[in-house]
Assembly symmetry: C2
Homo-oligomer: 377 residues x 2
């Protein structure tokens, strides 16, 4: 089920999620993929076979990205077709598209977390005043009370009709007829969020974001979670060995971290940024209201998260402590490309030079011709 509307997909995915452009080069992390599967199947990984032939990261070309929404839950996910690249291809100069990072959050939208009243069987949905005025078409205030019919398209292209009325004492915007049908069809409960977008084609789009209900995730009865983990590793290993394409699903709201990273972002973070224990950093997080804020922390260590299976991996290689102890939320380990160190020693001008293809003496670390002595192992 392909989701046709990119704006709506990105709005549901959240402000921090951006999909690398088709054709660009990315770095794929089997460990991160594995974390997503573990989160989705709600099952820890027991003992898995090692795949010594599979490196902890794979530089790939991203051949295809399609945006989808789960038919049952409307959960957004992306399907990506990746092809591991030869060392030579990894060292090709960047295309312009690989450096720009488009963030496609729509501007004319609002997101509201549903209250108990919004989801109760008595009555409809209370629309925040600014939201209604900004996102919905203007009401005809000559009518008494002012009202109109709204038609909104969900992620699957299905249309939902709502009566939008401005009434009550004091006056407020409400969605009445049609609202409860939507709530029960999507099985929304208080705490879930809905998201209305008014797009450039004067269409109203309607997405949902469910509250985190980690217990709801059901173990698949199709394949054991062990086989799923092995499958992901074997599929990547096979693709790496044969330089053939493989397909992955990225579920931005289930996955603890993105595991397909633009090559440029990875290289900049790993080879062009110096970090050390004790260094202060900032990191972006999504707020409840679907905007972003920065949290501060201190680097407390740099080491392999899994020295046995994945030695010398940069995945979550940075141990951190967070300033605000409200945590438990924020992971104790992050990857270099997720953080902004507060004191950096820029080793190159911030605007990357476009370089001509030429042979390099060795693999990825020399991607930009950085002298070895400046690189971190």
């Amino acid at each position: 089920q392909v989701c046709l509307n990119s704006e709506l997909w990105h709005a549901c995915a959240g402000p921090l999620v951006s999909l690398p452009p088709v054709g660009s080069r990315v770095v794929y992390f089997p460990q991160g993929h594995s974390e997503q599967v573990a989160a989705s199947t709600n099952k820890e990984i027991d003992s898995l076979p090692s795949y010594p032939s599979l490196p902890p990261q794979l530089v790939c070309q991203l051949h295809n990205v399609t945006m989808h929404a789960d038919v049952e839950t409307d959960e957004v996910y992306a399907q990506m077709t990746l092809q591991p690249l030869s060392l030579l291809e990894q060292k090709d100069p960047y295309l312009p598209a690989e450096l720009g990072m488009p963030s496609k959050q729509p501007t004319n939208y609002f997101c509201k977390t549903l209250t108990a009243s919004d989801t109760s069987t008595h009555g409809g949905f209370s629309v925040p005043r600014r939201a209604a005025e900004k996102v919905f078409p203007p009401l005809d205030f000559a009518q008494q009370p002012p009202a109109q019919e709204l038609i909104a398209k969900d992620l699957h292209g299905n249309e939902w009709k709502f009566r939008h009325i401005f009434r009550g004492q004091p006056k407020r915007h409400l969605l009445t007829t049609g609202w409860s049908v939507f709530v029960s069809a999507k099985r929304l409960v208080a705490g879930d969020s809905v998201l209305f977008i008014w797009n450039d084609n004067n269409q109203l789009l309607l997405g949902i974001r469910r509250a985190n209900r980690p217990q709801t995730v059901m173990p698949s009865s199709v394949l054991s979670s062990d086989s799923m983990h092995i499958g992901l590793l074997a599929a990547a290993a096979h693709a790496a060995a044969t330089n053939s394409r493989f397909t992955i699903f990225y579920n931005p709201r289930a996955s603890p971290s993105e595991f397909v990273i633009p090559l440029a972002k990875y290289v900049k973070a790993v080879y062009h940024t110096r970090v050390s224990v004790g260094m202060r950093f900032r990191m972006l997080f999504e707020t409840e209201e679907s905007s972003v804020r920065r949290y501060m922390g201190t680097i407390t260590g740099i080491s392999d998260i899994d020295p046995v299976h994945w030695p010398n991996s940069h995945w979550r290689s940075v141990k951190v402590g967070w300033d605000e102890s409200t945590a438990g939320q924020r992971q104790p380990r992050v990857s270099l490309w997720e953080i902004e160190p507060l004191t950096t020693f820029p080793m190159y001008p911030t605007s990357f030079p476009f370089r001509l293809k030429r042979p390099w003496p060795t693999g990825l670390p020399s991607l930009h011709g950085i002298p070895y002595e400046f690189e971190q192992k």
Copy 2:
């Protein structure tokens, strides 16, 4: 979610499904497992890597079998832990338990396919007269009208209360209060079946069997179907290479055929039964009313279903034609252990001799010391 009630599980699984006993030796077919995943993900297999190290069948010890029911759909499935056996262990004599084939269908039960009236919002469930008299506790006909409260446990152990009443002109058995709650909670529609069992502990059990709605099967957004297929193969190959345990799910109503077969049944069908093109055979199928009937057919060929990936596999090696052309239902290819050839040349007495362990010159084909010239390659 473990299903506690074995009778109910078997009743829901159907009369043809029998799980091999724990501790027994079984033959596992990756191809059959693959078919189940294909059926569950509703996706054909594209191109998969070959696993030359993985034979088309694996003789395993069945260490554990647990019966489950999907939390969302109540679909029954079994989890099995298998361990590939060494050649020597494969040749051990049979344990008594490996020869008996227990079929655990309960006797005191009924299964009814729901009508439009049964699932409509107006009124309850019409209980077939014989079914009510056989399975439900007797009503007190002194009351007018006779009525009682029934409490039935579903696959998850949840209890459902129903008012059972005998009324109307002409008189009939009905379930009223409580029925519609059950229908909407389980999201039953006309065409689905319900199944009531009165067990030996005087408990009423309640299972459901959904009508085949193959389009409903959603593609998982957790892992690509390719990775799932690779995962199943890689997990089996890894287990075979290291003689370690692996876990599979068997979904009797989703899977086209059983893919974990008792070793004795496999050996008897493959090495002790002679089949040839033109031979007539019978095969068991489940009827709409959850009983069994035999269909007749003729063997039209014997060949590998997939000579590239699985040469010399016995999985669906028999091409057949069916007498009743109502088919499209019945597969054009079956495996030897699924059919009863009508003219057999018994090569051994029907009761298997228990043999002592002793060394054999070669692998599985000599399992029972059958001279080579009698064996089919």
